[in-house]
Symmetry: none
Subunit: 216 residues, 4 copies
């Protein structure tokens, strides 16, 4: 593959710095993880967005979080049709092989994927409605959430509500996986929904009592 | 959703610690990112594995890497069939909306997904061959890589070769996306393949000259 | 000592978070504790096991529990032979200097030390019988407990019974310390035995009436 | 054992509160830990002192730290004489069975055990010199540290220096265990020394470069 390029120098330099410092300081733990395997306590499903640093926010070390990141932190419904479902594969591996104790869906403010979905459902982004738009088809998962918030008048409030729907719809879809339902029923798994305000650093969590997000 | 639980207390405490220190110290930058949007320089595609800390290895700050994480860091082939393709959506968003300058595929040692693929192709994991196995169907993406390494005699060498094939097959599939090919041809995008040894902290990159992975 | 390494960065970050939140919120109490000395109400003797969080289970604050943790929560018999007895020193300090009102021995399920003792006594762990095995010699303390449960047929029941013997033998040995006996006789000390099921969150306590463990 | 008493009611109440809240919220993780075993990343050796809350300071969750606590966080020298050495047993179990990546010795300010040692070595605590004093014989481990600081004039400075010697002597003694030395040499273990100021919330770590404690 002639078009594959060497890594930019500044990334090589940073890697070398990491190797000489953080890796060296934690070499024993890295080797332990390599030899003994991973035993993460939680799976976190969050957005690819470059502004979401879940390991920093929760002080997580190597080996602690099994991390799946996709556009808008979405989980599709259970659909065992033999096609390729990367998110469903990640959930299946975490719950049935790694037997994680927690699945945390972490949404966030200012989400480009959620905004795209809103525009598409509003009829303002015809390019996303095209069957060949991967982003559009992926954001279809959030359409049931759009239906619930579409009548909100204030634009900012509506967008924020849709960002939180991205978490709620994903939690609902998670529950459609038989192995997730079983693990919850057996007391071996709990699921959690969070929404993170990037600019203000706040985190809210979905409360079953309130049936809404509340500050933690 | 009655079955959604509040966040464990130790994560709340750690979050509060982050809020009072790292967030507080960087509030201006977080607010800038929230108001001005993200402008990541690179997309990184890596595994969900809890032992892979790509932001640590490359000293990445908030806003720097658009991060997609799935099982075994795989990119499927270009298939605009109207179905949901989370990885393809992430690539499309990064290249066409965010216009990242780099796409980096980062593989790693001791990968459970790759091992599962090897076992499945060897006929040792019939449960993964079932059409309802999300992990099995997802790992089908790596079958062309298995074909290339299956005759390697030494088991450890073969597994390692297959881990690197997970990067190579993904790079090949990346090239099947027209908007990726176009961005490369216009000089607006470069793609890179890396493989990371978790225990030893080494990173190798795919060299087009050598047509193989070489230490960086 | 060239081989001593700096603390891993994630622990430093978490510490800084603690300092900025929980420490700051409780600074007055920490300073009080530093200046006025500790006045714990109880000594707890529990296992080193990472899954036993005694301060969480009993909602203990800074300054409340004098905590000794060793393998399998064992107290050796009173043996004032001039050699180093770390556990006996801790008991002596708690009872005669701090004059704690309670000594609580807390055993637990899934104890690796107890299982090692059972295997050793069953003749299945010759490496633990070696005179140079610190774990083996330490677990010798539990041999009288093994004698009492060895005829139990069901393996799981036997292991659980031996875990509870680790508490009973320790309580018996505690009573062999003259200063413990005296403090109890004077009404200044009471001793308690608990066994904790890690997976189910249950706690049982030794009841003198039942001469057995009963749920609390 | 007629003299064993039921647990005080306030502890039962707190336990029941924990069971209904923190346990319930984390049940899945507790069960995971019970069924899959512990995989702690670090062993921490700290004092029994009720004011030292190591899990709080470092935001540690269940399963993270293998915790040995004794008077003055001391490790005795390697002495495989067939006698009972609880601390050596804990170190052996952590390093050879659990294969922890880190051993952290955490000393602290205002340590009663260290003060007792200082008084004893100064000839001011004859009761601790008695061969039947468990605390006195245990604190003998720190005598080499006393020798190094005894000429310091200012009493407060001298006591603080001796508290830090409790960490240094323990690190030196740790290095006398062949399995510790081997694990370090193979890159599978690193050891760390910390000293914690209870009143001010500060933590210093032993720096090999400085051959002294420095703030973190």
């Amino acid at each position: 593959m002639q078009r594959v390029r060497p890594l930019p120098g500044y990334l090589i330099q940073r890697y070398q710095g990491w190797k000489a410092t953080r890796y060296k300081d934690n070499q024993a733990w890295y080797r332990h993880l390599a030899h003994e395997g991973q035993h993460p306590r939680a799976m976190v499903i969050c957005c690819c967005d470059s502004r979401v640093h879940v390991t920093a926010i929760f002080g997580a070390d190597q080996g602690e979080f099994f991390l799946h990141r996709n556009i808008a932190n979405l989980v599709p419904p259970f659909e065992p049709d033999g096609a390729q479902h990367g998110t469903s594969a990640a959930v299946e591996y975490a719950v049935t092989s790694l037997k994680v104790a927690h699945v945390i869906v972490l949404g966030h403010s200012n989400c480009g994927g959620v905004k795209g979905c809103e525009d598409m459902c509003d009829g303002k982004a015809p390019e996303l409605e095209d069957s060949s738009s991967f982003v559009g088809r992926w954001m279809d998962i959030l359409r049931p959430g759009y239906e619930r918030v579409k009548d909100i008048k204030d634009p900012e409030t509506r967008t924020r509500a849709l960002e939180k729907q991205a978490v709620i719809v994903s939690l609902e879809n998670l529950m459609s996986f038989p192995f997730v339902r079983d693990a919850i029923a057996e007391g071996n798994l709990s699921v959690h929904g969070l929404w993170h305000d990037i600019g203000e650093g706040e985190v809210e969590h979905y409360s079953a009592e309130a049936d809404d997000f509340v500050p933690i």
